[in-house]
Amino acid sequence: MARKLSITALVLLVAVALALPAGAQKGPIKIGFLAPMTGGAAQIGKDMTNGLQMWLEENGHQIAGRKVEVIVEDTQGQPNIALTKLQKLVESDKVHVLAGGLFAHVGYALAPKVDQLGVPMLYPVMAADDLTQRKPSKWVVRNGWTSSQPNHPFGEYVAKTLGYKRVVSIAIDYSFGWEQVGGFQKTFEEHGGQIVQKLWAPLGTTDFAPYLSQIKRDADAVFALMVAQSALRFPKQYQDAGLKAKLPLLGGGTTFDEFVLPSLGDEAVGGISALIYSAALDTPQNKRFVTEYRNKYKKVPSYYSEVCYTTGRWINEAAKAVGGEVENRDRFLAALRKVEVPDAPRGPVKLDAHGNPIQNVYIRKVEKKDGELWNTVIHTYPAVSQFYKYKPEEFLKQPVYDRNFPACKHC
């Protein structure tokens, strides 16, 4: 009897011990990465994953002493597919942290779901303004930028330094385009400029002829916000319509991005734009980043690559701060919000009180060097926040930039 009891007790003890989660031994840190791997933006998706992969390889695929597993899911650039993949990553793959996403409208669509699922997600690319302004999300950590962020200083630069008075804007008709133009218009008009015409082209437009013929020829310059394949088409068509000779071309952040520069020619030379990064940035850490990336992937890195590379670093810093215990989601989230990266390839990055990076904004000009096109940095605005020089409370009183805000008073 006693023997039976003790054997049973022993078996039970062993069973319980085996069933209990092992203390010191932990599985890998799982990162769920969302990007468009097929469809029109597939190459951007590759730039994004390449950036992250490069950081991981440089660091032995380890974060805070634990192995790292990255699960990449294809969003096809569509919000409803991104939503399903998000759920799969959290519920089926049980990832500890999410990152990625490309289009701003996907960013707006995912945020409520991320909050519902309660897993931290980093937005290195998706720039939707309101997610760190009027529609803050608890679980989204924005370590990239807001759409309007670089254009606040840019509007000022164009009005004061370039001296343009009347500008026509043409932009892609979705939230990113609205917010980019809005940021530009606000500061440009506050410093004496006037937006005299606002044109909007649908996402995916490749033939700009109907819009180009509408551009008012008596303006001083044209501000064009283009993304992906629109960026590829626009400069040449702008030149062919005879506009390049008459109206200098200013670009939104993605118009002359390193992603499209290799495919553009002389028609892009002279284009001035503002962004949080340039591959031509002359700092030791960026030069190293660009050389390594080029060796590995045979392409100059775009800002998509940089922000995803820095995301790897970001997750690492936060994981180290919680001693590798990323399973504790609340603590991990808090750590993610406290990360500061003083020496990212794009410069120093740290989050403001609303959860968006304070970082340098570079005014760049497309120039030809040794037969290649580069975004030469012609001016730097250090430590720019999403609110620029405005007081956050004041700024948040105005509505989010959209098609009709700021209104086109001089149209």
Partner: protein
């Protein structure tokens, strides 16, 4: 043996019912969301089946009704705080209205012309969804659609919401089943077989087709309402041509003219799209092969194949055993 052949479909339906009713509390939340999604598309596919399978009209614009239902919910819930019943009513009515208008144009044609006209009509809805930015928010889509409000029980959780959608599916199925079993439905089948014969027999062919068209549209809108609630998001992609073609595939793959078939086809396609892309990036290729394979190997769909198999088994059993 004949009883097995006759009982098999009923048995299969029973199994399906048990699975859909009892299993969900035990599956992963990922699988639960897939099942919910599949039910929505099953409703959509069944509504198209009324048109395609029972009336013989292949439409390339059915996604328009999905979109009309979905956008109604999107706009009413995010901008006017509408509750579930209001959003549902408006969604279904708007889709029915759309079908009523489109039907007047489309039903002047048959066959290939009908396909093309419904394509053009579907594209008008797509065009509006894409470019009428002040109403639909264009490419951004409408995000932040809350879970249904105003119901006696809280459906914000995934499981309660699933059961709501399941209820909707049952309602849709019962309605459509009643329609196809009714004299009206039998007339539609007669029209599918031969319009001229029905006309000579004195049936008002156009009116029957029109009513069927409107019911199918309303059904599409009904599915669209739940699609918006499920995603929490509405976008122009809901109305694009590829979506309309995909609904056709679900009907064809499952087996047109059976209601069960298209529902099954919807399940297969939803699971395929979501699960396959976990294992390979080449899911487009696989989907393409499914499209072609369906027509080449199973033109009567899965249900058709099952029926043939059952018939063959039935015949085999009736054959006398070889003499020793």
């Amino acid at each position: 043996m004949e009883t097995f052949v006759r009982r098999a479909p009923r048995a299969a339906a029973l199994v399906a019912a048990v699975v859909l009713l009892a299993l969900p509390p035990f599956v992963s939340s990922f699988m639960l969301s897939l099942l919910t999604q599949a039910l929505v598309w099953a409703m959509l596919a069944m509504s198209l089946d009324l048109l395609l399978g029972f009336t013989g009209l292949a439409s390339l614009g059915h996604a328009a009704y999905l979109a009309l239902g979905a956008y109604s919910v999107g706009i009413l819930t995010t901008r006017h705080g509408a509750n579930f019943w209001t959003a549902l009513a408006v969604g279904v009515l708007l889709a029915a209205l759309g079908a009523a208008i489109f039907g007047l144009v489309a039903l002047r044609a048959t066959g290939v012309y009908f396909l093309m006209i419904t394509l053009a009509l579907g594209m008008t809805v797509w065009g509006l969804a894409n470019r009428w930015v002040s109403v639909t928010s264009g490419d951004n889509g409408i995000s932040g659609v809350p879970r249904p409000r105003g119901l006696p029980f809280d459906v914000s959780g995934a499981l309660p919401f699933y059961y709501l959608v399941l209820t909707a599916f049952v309602v849709a199925f019962v309605i459509l089943w009643t329609v196809v079993r009714s004299p009206f439905g039998k007339t539609l089948v007669g029209i599918r077989e031969s319009e001229s014969r029905m006309r000579t027999l004195g049936y008002h062919v156009w009116l029957h087709k029109y009513v069927g068209f409107v019911i199918a549209g309303a059904g599409g809108g009904f599915a669209g309402v739940f699609w918006a609630y499920y995603n929490g998001f509405v976008s122009p992609a809901d109305s694009e041509l590829a979506t309309s073609v995909e609904i056709l595939l679900m009907v064809a793959l499952g087996g047109r003219g059976t209601l069960f078939g298209p529902a099954l086809g919807a399940f297969v396609i939803v699971l395929l799209k979501n699960v396959v892309s976990i294992y390979t990036h080449r899911w487009l290729l696989i989907l393409g092969v499914v499209y072609i394979g369906t027509i080449v190997y199973a033109p009567e769909g899965i249900i058709g194949m099952a029926r043939d198999w059952l018939k063959a088994r039935g015949r085999a059993q009736l054959r006398p055993a070889p003499s020793p």
